[in-house]
Structure formats: structure tokens, C-alpha cells
Amino acid sequence: MSNTDLNVNRKSGWQRINIFKVNSIAPSLVIVFILMCAIFGGINPQFLSFVNFKTIISGLSVYGMMAVGLSFVVLTGNFDVSVGSVVGICSIVMAMMFNIEGVKIPIAVIILAGIALGAFVGAINGFLITVVGINSVITTLGTLAILRGVALLLANKPALINDKFYVSLGRGFIAKTIPYSFVYLIVIFVIAYLLLRFTKFGRNVYQVGSNSNAARLAGIPVKRTQFLTFVVAGITCGISAFLMTSQAAFAQGEFGTGFEFTILTIVVLGGISLAGGRGTLIGVAAGLLIINSIANGLTMIDVPVFWREAFNGIILIAAILIDSIRVRRRELLKA
């Protein structure tokens, strides 16, 4: 564990990319994943079948994109609990744009509008948190309620989407094996990874998260960086909303309820420290795979639905306990 003393500046650059060195939690996550596959596969061999693998892969995208966005926010030491509601409102607005009487809006415009709405909501969150200076949890708790309320008001009935092309964007497969949605997820992961690792913005995110005072003294625009992370989270929510609506072919006000919890679990399990400034998207990808496979596996071995929820809570608590122990060990190593 000697590499826990990770210096972001020193490590950035192509030659430094090494999955097992960059994030010390990744190897343990891989072990957990293999163990899990063994257990679920042992109880129900169907779990390891190719069909089920395809199910897991196509289920990753909505959560995965949001987890990427939230990772940016958590890396700067903030939280966003409104992500589920942002997805809800973006979904319903996009679906409503399909249903305007007598007007046919191009699909690209609708998708862009949905993403822009997400970015706008993220900007509002960011404004309240950085400029007004309210605690991020309280702010996003407020926007969570507001956006959900508005989404439910807009959607007094499910808004159907009758557009074959739009639906195929979410449900289609490449060569009948790789879902389009998985491709989008990979693209977003790669973009976000490059953004965090090779741009000034990415480095600022880490610096602000590990020590915002030092970052300010070093001339890093702390508030602007934090603001932008919320916008990034909003954008990923918008994209998730696009994917959800196109996969479901309709939208309703409840879309995204309770997502914030799962997303937070993925991010924390993936090794993004809640103290900010530590963790990489590779860990998040592993966390995402584990959480989704667990959800899938528990269904496969017929665990009742309520127990599955309890399981999620236990995983979250275990993840933050591990995070805390890691932080403490790092401090011991420093001292």
C-alpha cells in the first residue's frame, strides 16, 4: 500500500496510466467481483450465461453516466443528491416535446434540449453552492424536492414517445451483441477520463478536492471549478434521461426516484473518497459493474425485492467504512 501517497501532478501523463497503481482499490474490487460471480454462478449457473451478461451490460448505462457526473462533484468535496430528480425532469420534458400538437421537433434538438436542461439545473445548483455559498447537501436536497414536484406536476399522465428511430437509439444493438447504450457509456467514460487526467480542469478538480485553501492560494479558480463540476453532473443526468426515455419509450414523473442513493454507492464503492480529491473513474467503472451485477445476481437467485434494498444500504455503509479506514491509513503513513 505504499502507493497510497498519490500525487496527482506527478502521476498525470500517458506513461503513468496503470490501473493497479493509480487506484489501490481496483485490485480488491476485481477480487470482490470474481468472488461474487463465483457465488451467484454457483447458486444459479444462468448468472454466467451470455444472455445474462448482455442484460447486465445493457443495464449499466443509465447509472454509469450519472456516476461519472457525480464523481466530478464528489472529487471536489461536494455532494449532489438531486441527480435522480434531474433525470426525472429531463425525461418528462423530452417526452413532452415529442407530444406537442402539430409540431414535429427534430430528434437532435430534443436530445440537445434535454441535455441543456440538465446542464441548466446543474448550473443552478452550482450557483447556489458556490456563489451564494449554501452547503451542497442542503441545496441539492431542496432542488431534489422542487424538481420532483415540478416533474410530477408536468406529468399527470405518462407521456408516450411514438418515434421508432428515437427508441432504436436506446434499444438497438451493434451486431446483435453490443447494445448502443453500452457504446455511449464507454464514450462518456473515456471523455470524462481524459478530461480528468489530461486537462487543466481535471487537475483543478483534484486540487480543489484535496485542499481547497491551498488551491485558492495557488491561483486555482476554486469556485469556478466547483460550479463546472455541477454542470458536468447535470449534463450526464440529461444524457441518462435521453437513454431512459428512449429505452422505455415513455416518461413519467417518477423517473429517477431514489437513483441518488445507488449512484452514491457506486461512486463511493469505486474509491472516490468522500473527503474529496482522491479516486479515479476506473474504480467507479469497477464499482458500477459490481453494483449492477449484485442487483442482477440477487434477482437471479430469487432474493425478495425488499431484501435487495437492504443489501444496497449495507454495501454503502461497508464502502464508506472502507473509505474511512483507507483515509486513516494514509494519514498514518504520512505521519
Binding site: 432542488t143 414536484g149 435487495r308 444500504g313 454503502l316 464508506i320 483515509v327
Partner: protein
């Protein structure tokens, strides 16, 4: 009134704060009663106050905890869980007092566990209690199989419906809590310890206060308060509902924050919280009397929370600049 023991400057500062809130409360009551006569009727007011008991008790429990920089959002799920547990045991034929004791004990245990994990592992309170929330609500659903378990007893019915001097009996629970918390926070050494921890935990540690211990105690106390709120909930509804507390977090947090407690800790008072709870209840009840759809009320609550905190924040920043 509330800060006599603290230094003079602070007292006047906080008093004006409470006064502003009081004026806002009176203005709200006036507006609602002008729009709708029914608002100011005995029936409506007593219903409102009865519904306020649970929010109020929880907000009071959160007050010292948040002053000492802790936070607990698992109380809603804890209420559901304890309620279901009590009803479950009651349906097994166990005597009422034992059911209530077990239910409260479960809530206390949850509070203690929250405190222990948060303090010993130095966790972020909101995240841990979020996890606890999901576990508890899932357990409540497992135990009740997703249904409401009925728990109709004469004693609880009496407690929920009778009035004394035209005041609902359940309201006395809240009044007792207000007096106890006010006394502890203003006149005892424990109260001052809590304020010191909130103002600066490091200084508190250096001056020999066992910060962790006090906070664990406060979390446990929050558990106790939650258990009692759960009894009130079961008494009022007559069922152990696994979703009873699902939407409690926002109104309670709004009330507490409205009453002047900041997440940064160290500030706040019992009277501020009481007025905060009253304002939240008046808004909720007033909008219901005006037949506003419940989604609007949710939007309104969120807006109110953000608006209030922004105002406090802007004013604090201005004060800091001076």
C-alpha cells in the same frame, strides 16, 4: 430570552433573529386566515398542532445534534421501522407496554449505532445515515411484507384523540420536550458543552471535552426521540406503516434550518427551532386548506428551504465582511 447565559452581544443577535421569524409566522397566519376563514378555526388549528407533534419532536431532537455538528437523516426510516416492529409484536399478542418499549429500544439502538460508526470511523454523517435509512426502510418493508400492520388499542386511541383543556393530549408531549430541551441547552453544563463542540470541535477537544462521547450520546438521544415520535405516529394512524416516515426528512430539516441552525454548527436555539416548526406547519396546512395540489407543496417546501438558507448565508457573509 433564550441565550441569557451566553455573552450579551450574541444574545441580542439571536433574539432579533427569533423575532424576525416570529413576525414572519404571524404574517403567514394572518395571510392564510384572510384568504380562508376556515384556517383560523379551532378544528383546523388543533389538527395542525396535532400533526405538528411528530415534526416538532424530531426537529427538537435534531437541534442539539446539529448544533454539535452532527446530522441524522435516517429518522424517517427509523420511525417506519419502529412503528412496524411495534405493530408486528402487538399482532403476535405481546402486551402493549412491551411492544412500545421494544420499539423505542430499537430506535435508540439505531441512534447509538449511527453515532458509534460516525464518530469512531470519522464518517460523514449524512452518508452513513443515508445508508442506515435504506437498510431500515427495507427492513420495515420486509417485516410488514409491504402492508400496513394494524395496531388499534384503546390507550393509544385515547392518547391520539382526547383533549385536555381543549388542547390535544399529544401536544403535551411536544410541550414537555420543548421545556426539557430548552432547559438542557440554556441552563446546564451539557448544553454549553454542546455549543462549544459546535463552535469549534478542536478547541473543545483541547479543553478536555470528550467530543466523541458527547456526540454519540446526542445521536442516541436522537434515537430515543425518534422512538417516541414513532409511538405518536402509530397512535395517530392506528397502523405500523412501512412508509410512514418516508417523506419526513425534508419538512423536519427545513424547520430546523429555518429556525437558525446552520450545518456549520455552533448556532441555533430551541425557540428558533420551535418557530421554524410552526412556520413549516402553517405553510403546509395553509396550502392544504387552500386546496393546493400536494406536488406544489413539495415544490414550495424545497423553494422555501433554499430561499431561507440563502438569506441566512448572504447575511452571514455580509456580517463577516464588516
Amino acid at each position: 430570552m433564550d441565550g441569557k447565559v451566553l455573552e450579551k452581544k450574541k444574545t441580542s443577535f439571536r433574539l432579533t433573529d427569533t423575532l424576525i421569524l416570529l413576525i414572519a409566522l404571524i404574517a403567514l397566519v394572518l395571510i392564510f386566515s384572510l384568504i380562508r376563514r376556515e384556517f383560523f378555526s379551532y378544528d383546523n388549528i388543533s389538527t395542525m398542532l396535532k400533526n405538528m407533534v411528530i415534526t416538532g419532536v424530531l426537529a427538537l431532537g435534531l437541534t442539539p445534534l446539529m448544533i454539535a455538528r452532527g446530522l441524522d437523516i435516517s429518522f424517517g426510516a427509523s420511525i417506519s421501522f419502529s412503528g412496524v416492529l411495534m405493530a408486528y409484536l402487538y399482532n403476535l399478542g405481546i402486551g402493549l407496554p412491551y411492544c412500545l418499549i421494544v420499539g423505542v429500544a430499537a430506535a435508540v439502538l439505531v441512534g447509538f449505532l449511527n453515532g458509534l460508526l460516525i464518530e469512531k470511523f470519522d464518517l460523514i454523517p449524512i452518508i452513513l445515515t443515508l445508508g442506515m435509512m435504506s437498510i431500515l426502510s427495507a427492513l420495515a418493508l420486509v417485516m410488514s411484507e409491504g402492508r400496513s400492520l394494524s395496531m388499534l388499542t384503546d390507550q393509544l386511541y385515547y392518547f391520539a384523540t382526547r383533549t385536555f383543556l381543549k388542547i390535544p393530549i399529544s401536544l403535551f408531549v411536544l410541550i414537555i420536550f420543548i421545556i426539557v430541551f430548552w432547559f438542557i441547552l440554556t441552563f446546564t453544563k451539557t448544553g454549553r458543552t454542546i455549543y462549544i463542540i459546535g463552535a469549534n470541535p478542536k478547541v473543545a477537544t483541547l479543553s478536555g471535552i470528550k467530543v466523541q462521547k458527547v456526540r454519540i450520546l446526542l445521536y442516541t438521544f436522537m434515537g430515543l426521540v425518534t422512538g417516541i415520535a414513532s409511538i405518536v405516529m402509530v397512535a395517530m394512524t392506528g397502523v405500523g406503516n412501512p412508509l410512514a416516515g418516508a417523506k419526513m426528512a425534508l419538512p423536519v430539516l427545513s424547520a430546523v434550518v429555518l429556525g437558525g441552525i446552520s450545518l456549520a454548527g455552533g448556532a441555533g436555539s430551541v425557540w428558533g427551532t420551535v418557530i421554524g416548526v410552526l412556520i413549516v406547519s402553517v405553510i403546509f396546512n395553509g396550502l392544504s386548506v387552500l386546496n393546493v395540489p400536494s406536488y406544489f407543496i413539495q415544490v414550495f417546501q424545497g423553494l422555501a428551504l433554499i430561499l431561507i438558507v440563502s438569506l441566512y448565508e448572504v447575511r452571514n457573509q455580509r456580517a463577516a465582511r464588516r
